[in-house]
Point group: C2
Chain length 772, copies 2
Amino acid sequence: MEKKGAIGQSETRWDAISKVKGTAMFTADFPVQNMLHGKIVRSTIAHGRVLEFDISEAEKMPGVVKILLPEDMPQNQFATAGHPYNMIPEKRDVADRLILTRDVRVYGEEIAAVVAKTELQAVQAAEKIKVTYEEYPVYLSPKESMAEGAMRIHKERDNVIANTKVGFGDVEEELAKADYVLKEHFSTGVQQHVHMENQVAIAYQSEDQRWTCISSTQIPHICRRIIGEAMGMPWSQFRVKKPFIGGGFGNKQDVTIEPLAVAMTMACGGRPVQLAITREESLAFTRTRHAIDYDVQIGVNKDGHITAIDFDVYSNQGGYASHGHSIGGKGGTFIHALYKSDALRYAAKTVYTNIATAGAMRGYGIPQVMYALESIIDDAAEKIGMDPIEFRMMNAQPDNFKNTISKIKQKNFLIEECLKKGREAFEWDRKLKDSLNYKSGSKRRGVGVGSFSYGSGTYPFGLEVSGARLILIQDGRFKLMLGATEIGQGADTAFSQMAAEILGVPTNHVIRDFMTDTDVDPFDTGAYASRQSYITGFAVREAAEEMKQKIVERASDIYDVRPEYLDIVDSQIIYAYDGEVVTSLADLALASFYDMQHGQSIVAESAVNIHHNAYASGCTFAEVEVDVETGKVDLLSVMNVHDSGKIINPKLAGGQVEGGMAMGIAYGLSEGLRYNEKGKPLNNNLLDYKIPTTMDLPELDFEFVEEMDPLAPFGNKALGENPMNSPAQAIRNAVKNATNVAINDIPLSTQRVFEHMKENNVITVKNQADAK
Amino acid sequence: MEKKGAIGQSETRWDAISKVKGTAMFTADFPVQNMLHGKIVRSTIAHGRVLEFDISEAEKMPGVVKILLPEDMPQNQFATAGHPYNMIPEKRDVADRLILTRDVRVYGEEIAAVVAKTELQAVQAAEKIKVTYEEYPVYLSPKESMAEGAMRIHKERDNVIANTKVGFGDVEEELAKADYVLKEHFSTGVQQHVHMENQVAIAYQSEDQRWTCISSTQIPHICRRIIGEAMGMPWSQFRVKKPFIGGGFGNKQDVTIEPLAVAMTMACGGRPVQLAITREESLAFTRTRHAIDYDVQIGVNKDGHITAIDFDVYSNQGGYASHGHSIGGKGGTFIHALYKSDALRYAAKTVYTNIATAGAMRGYGIPQVMYALESIIDDAAEKIGMDPIEFRMMNAQPDNFKNTISKIKQKNFLIEECLKKGREAFEWDRKLKDSLNYKSGSKRRGVGVGSFSYGSGTYPFGLEVSGARLILIQDGRFKLMLGATEIGQGADTAFSQMAAEILGVPTNHVIRDFMTDTDVDPFDTGAYASRQSYITGFAVREAAEEMKQKIVERASDIYDVRPEYLDIVDSQIIYAYDGEVVTSLADLALASFYDMQHGQSIVAESAVNIHHNAYASGCTFAEVEVDVETGKVDLLSVMNVHDSGKIINPKLAGGQVEGGMAMGIAYGLSEGLRYNEKGKPLNNNLLDYKIPTTMDLPELDFEFVEEMDPLAPFGNKALGENPMNSPAQAIRNAVKNATNVAINDIPLSTQRVFEHMKENNVITVKNQADAK
């Protein structure tokens, strides 16, 4: 009997059928008896204070059950970022939120709320609430809110909420030693997650008088805690359930609507209240990717040696702290993870402004910093006349390098392999050569490359714990319970494969639940930081190994064979030494449950605290055609190559890569939330904020450099966010290669590219007067 | 700090508020999207075969989605009794059922089914199905179906489905030695459970394409298995969820409607189908208490010594085997448990007939056998002129007696204490004396006593396994997961008290779930046999002790104190030797979760297989006034006394006792399902089948002889069914004491008592002709 593992197989995701049939239950599908509907009243200014609410008309509107003002809410300041609680007070996320507030810091501030019998009635009543404001100056950028005399956005703290500095060596000295010093400014745009399902929560009082919140969240256990903190009540008094969720990409790693939903049901005697926000609200009033400005210097010698890398970082936090400081601070580690240098200085300021609060988003600050780094790296290679791939490979950190900042040993760090593999698979050299035929005229072609490195989870900066529980069922199949969350990425199918691999059964014999329930599922902090297949993978492995051991011991008792002689393959208990079948797993399970003398159910549960991190890497190759007369950039071909260790499920991994590439391409080329000078969002709808469709994208090619990471649970490393981390820089470098113009601000929108072409005299635009 | 335990406190049940408010969710309250409704088509004969279904009209009825005939169903014969699966084939319950069948064995046989968009549409379509039968002779009693030439009700097996014989000594010889031999015939009626909530199930295809059944069942895990057996599919493919349930009393220890509900959703492409039966269906077409006939002999010497007890038992099983053989066989053990004798013979036949299938009902055969035993015991005492209480005490098995039949050591077996305590508390002697003033005239008074013994669970005859899982929450409270089922009896509150007792926290810090879910809850066979507080109690104790040990060890790590120095009292970790507080449990929990170095959730899970049984006992004292002219028996006062070990929650225990007494009184006095000669039920509605209201009952007094059972998890023994086991015989003996007429058939309905008064010349009734 040959052992055919589940790991590495392209198993169909277990939820595929119900999603295709439309029977999969998402939060908004939950039928709850006698449900009310909530609506948030949002500020129509970006900075100021509510002086007065006039609710007299609203109260009279049909169906209104309750109007909630800031004064009706618990007054506990809380942090919304989805991180594990920190035992060290100064390391905790900034608690700068109230559920409702009169202090307006962003346009769309949550200043009041209405609960009504129908959603429409809630909307109509909310519109009748009249608000009188005192208005303050609006700061759209860190520069403005850091300026002398700028008023504090939160009176308790400075507008610069975090200063992060990491590095080593003497940057000034090493820069001085370099043959060349490049100094550039980079800026990135405000991207939104645009998960398919908007934020939605249903809260109600449970049968035991506690409070249940069904929510579309990436972080059920953290969400429970944050509701407890916001309410100022013991956390056990809340229960969070997460059914299927239509994506999150980090936006649902913030607890944005759940405390209000709970406050609504509390105000309505425990009746269920659904709080579902609209696409317009989700786009502009939840969280965004941080717009970050970088002042970067790099010292490089003629031979390609990098002497120093120097980053000054200004992260636009928006109105609330959210994930700000950890995102601002994260870049230094991964610059160092990717490239050797004699000195590194990375200094980040995270700054309150009056635009939408920035939070976690796929890549968590890394797409930004890698955009800046890989742009200047490319420029440096050009400066010394070196092939950009060669330059990267020469300076790449070697396998087994120990990261000075994080102290993580970069085991199996294979960025060089990625670059090498991609160069061939992408046909870089041919395409580069072909592009030489398109260096004049209106359509110009070029190729570009960009790399990144990324961690698997948050260690050593964050707590990394997880748990798994496996239950043997009477027919020899298993139920797998996890606190880790399936958010559409396919995690559950991967976890079933992991358990199946150890237990010697088909993947579909390991049953997962569509609902994560904080009351019963093992503690796990949730879906973020590309942590789950790595961190939770350890928990699954440990539980599965314990389960296997217990099964084998039970078989050993019953069949009088030493346990070390036994194994489980293809759902059979076999003699490990010759493969002969002892009994079926199903028969053993039956005996386990029902033997009068020894009958007992078999359950295995793990709880792990992981003190390691597996650094992944990868790169994007891009070929573009730039219409220099219009500024339109056409992506002709693109390829990602990933060093993510063993791929658990190639089909699902491919889905992740394609989705991430699309998001990364759009990040580089088109997506950006815009504001007017008063801080009002201008394009918070899917007509004006355009996400790419398949029609807007080329074939999304990808490759894996697949090697087992010996320090990972199944040889696997981060992959979820990674594909997003390099397309923008590859495109920017390709546009530069095509046009000879280095554009340092993304997105490379048609307008922006056009302006740069004009500024750099690639084209000459006659004004109308001249034309006449 | 004084340790105040949770055990023995009258804690309010945790579900009280939601039940009073009406927010508690029972099966029928579940809103499921797009739900269809099922209706069973039942036979209108009691014995025969369906020759033809004409569904042509029914098919055309509005809203009909599916009409199901026996041929559309899986053809796997299955057993409906809620017992653990047995590894020994011959010990398994008799698999004599199909989901739908053309072979009609009872009136109301499930022969077809309709699924429609509304319940009314389903009912209306069902009425349009025309059925042609071949009719067979109808057997209403064991005597008829055992008669020479009677046809087999199931062609595969004899109408006598089980012969059970237990005993010891030579009964003939010992009877011959006795000074007196009493020989009597007893019979009992058909009682129905009349749980508040009728059977109801909702089945649908789950998100993972498995099949979920929400059901009002006492036995979720067993229900899952039986659905699997009925469907012929792996048991893991089913998931049973039990929300709040409005009583069961054993009727929901049979799996009667769930396989059909599942078959209905399968036939409808996985759409949810609710199958809710009516009160009329529940009364006559689910399960009943067995009507049993007893031929009893007892040998007694003048000095009160019992030489032999001899029981010939004929149990009327109805159309299907259900729990038949185990109920038929159970009596011998508990006759022996209660009384000494030189010889005992107990021979029971369980016999198919064409009345409603009998199954489990509170007391599980013991109310019947104890009725017969305690009646003849009373008659024997009278025969030798001995005080009936003295006679019982003299012959009662002593404490620590080892039961010869079950091999169970009857630790703390305190029937003598119960009789003694009751004699005083009931004021037996005064009431007996007072009754002497009412021995003539139309209203006659008397007192009677009746005892019983009962087990805690099914060991050694059945498998007794359970499990419990405790989860420490971040605020130092706990979630308790169990497969044991709250069915209204208050089990969950008792379990929380048990865990709280060990963990040193208030009861309401141990959170229970209103939903039992076979997918995630520990394996436990469910609520029956008064097993849960005993068997599951061991599981709770073991899990709580493991949890406490883990907490103490964590505290030991953090506070650098040897674990044996620590204890938990009032949610504080204290030094056990002087009570000084080390830290709060809440703070320790927080550190446990979030310490960067060692942070880990703490979970404890137990799985127990209990090889013991704690024999409980008790008795009822009754004072009656019999109107000999009408036959009406008025119960003036009544008292139960219970030897059930330590009482976990006096308030809840009191509720159980009062409910059981009411049911036992009605069993003795009034309740009985009746059939016409064709086997058609005559009174399957609550107008004609009368259950007593508080207006019909006297004050229900009770006492406990409360002593810790050292072999029980918390000193506790069975109580749930016990209160039902003795009222009938106490009333029968009181009626005898009042009228000097021994009536051996229950219920002692007015009509029956009147007839006996007439027969025994207590009254003379002139017929109309005479009167003229």
